[in-house]
Amino acid sequence: MSGIAEPRLQADASGAAGGRSERFRGGTLGPAGLVAAGVVAVAVLAAVWPALLGGGDPLAVHPERALQAPSWTAPFGTDESGRDVLARIVAGTRASLVVGVVATLVGGVAGVVLGVVAGLGGRAVDAVVGRVTEVAFALPLLLVALVVIAVTGPGPVPAMLAVGAATAPGYARIVRGLVRTARRSQVVETAVLLGRSPARIVLRHVLPAALWPVVAVATLGVGQAVVWASALSYLGVGTPPPAPEWGAMLADGRTYLQTAPWMSAFPGLAIVVLATAVTVLGRAVRRTGAVR
């Protein structure tokens, strides 16, 4: 998929013979995938245990140290209230990861439910769901998210719901196609001939076939969700200040763009690095064929 694809992995991915242990064999992620995995691991660590990575109180105000350029004591500089930018970025990792993962889960689960209903239901149900997703595609993601926030009011939880709602149709479309394909597969045909109950066929054969590819796609979606959620914060309808959230920090930094560019540069870099790492890792995992 990406430019750093390793062709030798394709045989691994297509060959069903490889056992589970073989698929997870070290090195199959490729160098880029390993780096990405490292970045994601650091981010998870920062989210779980912020004190370990860097320090200090993200909310501690030191007016006498306001707007200081990056130095040894504050590697990423300080903001207009003298708060340490690095500490705020580390503290904001949790918010960004949680928003990214929860929004993806919301979108993924809603999409899977819609897609399965469309895929398993009759012609009429399928047509209705198909129209719904088509309409959702006609609206730009940010517009859907903003309309959801117009209804719920601003905040971090509405931001997760908004991004989730806006991404659901994409998942629904994929799941629908996969369920339809699985329904026509020989495995299902055989199961029907063997007299298995419909519920068992759906649970054992149709759903797994449709779910794994979605998990792979969803790993790519987490990076996007982080970006969109921070965009909502940037626009002032996501996580409110003074909570350390990357998008909100960027919005703060906008006022001081000329005098203190580090206030904007580093939170943005954090978003780009995390989103890129999650995306690259998602692709590397998908290429190994571990989630198929």
């Binding site: 940010l142 996007q224 943005g268």
Partner: protein, 342 residues
């Protein structure tokens, strides 16, 4: 002779059918969007009459509230309101903005050209970047391929608001090449357009690159090569033409993504476009304006999708007069950019 004539008429009929199907689908989408917006208005907590009078803090008197409620038809049954709403839309009335007290159509008339310019120029720049990236990643060896691949992934997840800020600091403040805030001159458009274009270019580049790689292995590429086609000629005349198809299908989706990007970018560069109006409208709960913007962008999407389909039919000689493809909206390729990077 006769056969040719028959063929022409079949094609002509195909085009008319295609147009009708497109129009019907488009109207259906618009109706659904209008309904969603209507329901969203009802779901908003609080009294819409208060929102019209300037929000809960306005201390409006009970008589004023009652008067506004009657004036805007808010005291009538919901279904009647829905019918009135749809009827007004059908006759082209988007209503008055609560916050600006001017017709939504007038506001959109001022703001839409800005956003459309941004999106269209952004799409053009994204295509140029994508084609250059595809050339680099397929014709310039492994290192260039790895570099371009890494750059396209990064580009596709770069937030607009950050990229915009970085570009302002570097090209406007430090180098002073272009103005930081859009001032109506051509130079003022450079940074906003590049900002909306880059993330979309990342996605497009990957799609086009995949298409070129795919085409390189095909028989027609080998045939062209053996006829003595140069590397550039092969790329421009054969590979790219093949690779452009999924890219064009993706462009309709990309346009939606550009509009999403425009919401943010207009806010970064202080451009007076629809996107910035949308953010204000949402924070002020100015529902007629939100509805107007939603409908206009849905309509734009419908048109762009139709145009993309049209271009695809022209570029792809395999498409016949409407039978080769099934009707309905063409999806962005599944499995890519899903998580609605619209």
């Amino acid at each position: 002779m006769r056969r040719e004539h028959r063929h022409a008429s079949a094609t002509w009929r195909g085009w008319v059918l295609w147009g009708l199907r497109r129009a019907a689908g488009g109207i259906g989408v618009l109706w659904a969007v209008a309904t969603i917006v209507f329901v969203a208005i009802r779901l908003i907590p609080g009294d819409p009459a208060l929102a019209i009078l300037g929000g809960p803090g306005s201390q409006a008197s009970a008589e004023a509230v009652a008067q506004v409620r009657h004036e805007y038809g808010l005291d009538r049954p919901v279904l009647v309101q829905y019918a009135v709403f749809l009827g007004r839309l059908a006759s082209g009335h988007l209503g008055d903005s609560y916050a600006f007290r001017t017709p939504v159509a007038t506001l959109l008339g001022q703001q839409l050209p800005v956003t459309l310019t941004l999106a269209v120029l952004g799409l053009v720049v994204a295509w140029v970047l994508a084609v250059v990236a595809a050339w680099w990643s397929t014709q310039r060896g492994r290192f260039a391929a790895a570099l371009t691949g890494a750059l396209s992934v990064t580009a596709s997840v770069t937030p607009h608001f950050w990229l915009g800020s970085v570009l302002i600091v570097v090209f406007a403040s430090a180098l002073g090449w272009v103005p930081a805030v859009s001032d109506g001159t051509a130079g003022g458009w450079v940074l906003p357009v590049v900002t909306v274009a880059v993330p979309v270019a990342g996605y497009l580049a990957e799609t086009v690159r995949d298409g070129v790689v795919d085409a390189q292995r095909s028989a027609f590429a080998l045939a062209a090569r053996s006829r003595g086609e140069t590397r550039a000629g092969l790329f421009g005349r054969h590979l790219l033409r093949h690779a452009a198809l999924p890219g064009i299908a993706l462009s309709a989706w990309a346009f939606g993504s550009l509009v999403s990007g425009a919401v943010v970018v207009e806010s970064v560069f202080a451009l007076p476009g629809v996107g910035r109006a949308l953010v204000t409208a949402v924070t002020q709960r100015d529902m007629p304006l939100v509805a107007g913007i939603a409908l206009v962008s849905a309509a734009t999407y419908v048109v762009v999708l139709a145009v993309a389909d049209l271009v695809e039919r022209v570029v792809d000689p395999r498409a016949d007069g409407g039978r080769a493809r099934r009707g309905g909206a063409r999806a962005p390729r599944p499995g890519r950019g899903v998580a609605g990077a619209r």
